[in-house]
Symmetry: C2
Subunit: 162 residues, 2 copies
DNA sequence: ACTTTTGTTCATTTTTAATTGAACAAACTG
DNA sequence: CAGTTTGTTCAATTAAAAATGAACAAAAGT
């Protein structure tokens, strides 16, 4: 890193880097968000590039992703042509996005595959397939639970009570 | 793949490969579990190697991980020295393990880092740090929620009601 | 009109993670 | 006890993901 980062910034960056990695997002996104999170003023892309010592490409891509997540908000600065951003406190957006975009489609895809499997067992070997069928049925229940889990998590994650 | 797999096996393997990838586990683990899931008889390591066309190393490592997760159960076959395994239906184990081993430690680590950050702000800039401090406090609430979320998910995932 | 600033895109490079297979160890076999 | 079978470990290879930076485009300034 070219420009020295404060202790606070370093901590925040590390914090969010490890956070986004849980969700399988690239490190650079954590760095960007981490720096913005503790920055009182909004930041522009070239500031990120310099302070985090990342490439233009990573910065541009990272900002695009964070914008897409709603995790950062564009904010213009008087007399400056650049686009500035500040962190949106709604970390919930990132988490919600994760569950909606990542888990949701997989659940659906999984359910399709699952019915196909049940069909196969029923057609090909309805006799000896008992054991397998019960396993597949068990899996099916999992999907039902998964479907319940998502809105539940989203609610927990969104409501800022207590 | 050397030995031809049935349609059912292929579907199951694909299903679990994409499942374990959500959790960030290697593909080979999904393959192994997927094949076992639809296998009426328990399977030994060399059968996995042959049917899935994976290496000894992957098979051994994969089995070790699945054993560690409690996702497969050793079961001996009369008159055969090899170690056989069958899939444990408790998929919950895998999910629980994920939340306990992966999320838990990160939460703790995150909390430590968070208090450090709050300390830094209080020491270095108790005046102008108001904004940042409120952000950090917001984050703290997130940890509280995360802590609540884990047992909640584990309960949902474990109880086989409905 | 042309020069500069700001930002995006994407082919290449770098980094990271998973897989392989040879070497080894332990347990059985005859 | 020599040979075989079964399984683990780990250095080297391969494959997948992320980061880089040059080329390009769009808007602004002069």
């Amino acid at each position: 890193m070219v420009t020295r980062l404060t202790e606070l910034e370093k901590e925040s960056i590390d914090y969010f880097v490890s956070f986004v990695q849980i969700l399988g997002l690239p490190k650079s996104i954590g760095q960007i968000y981490g720096l913005m999170f503790v920055s009182p003023e909004p930041l522009a892309m070239d500031q990120l590039i310099e302070r985090l010592d990342i490439s233009k490409g990573s910065a541009s891509q990272g900002l695009a992703t964070l914008r897409g997540l709603g995790a950062i908000v564009p904010s213009s600065v008087e007399g400056d042509r650049r686009e500035f951003y500040h962190a949106d406190l709604q970390v919930s957006r990132i988490v919600s996005h994760f569950f909606e975009e990542r888990l949701g489609p997989r659940l659906e895809n999984g359910e399709a595959r699952l019915s196909r499997m049940i069909e196969i067992v029923n057609q090909d070997s309805p006799e000896e397939g008992d054991k397998i069928l019960s396993r597949l049925t068990a899996l099916n229940k999992w999907h039902a639970r998964g479907r319940k889990l998502i809105p539940l998590i989203k609610r927990l994650v969104k409501t800022p009570r207590n």
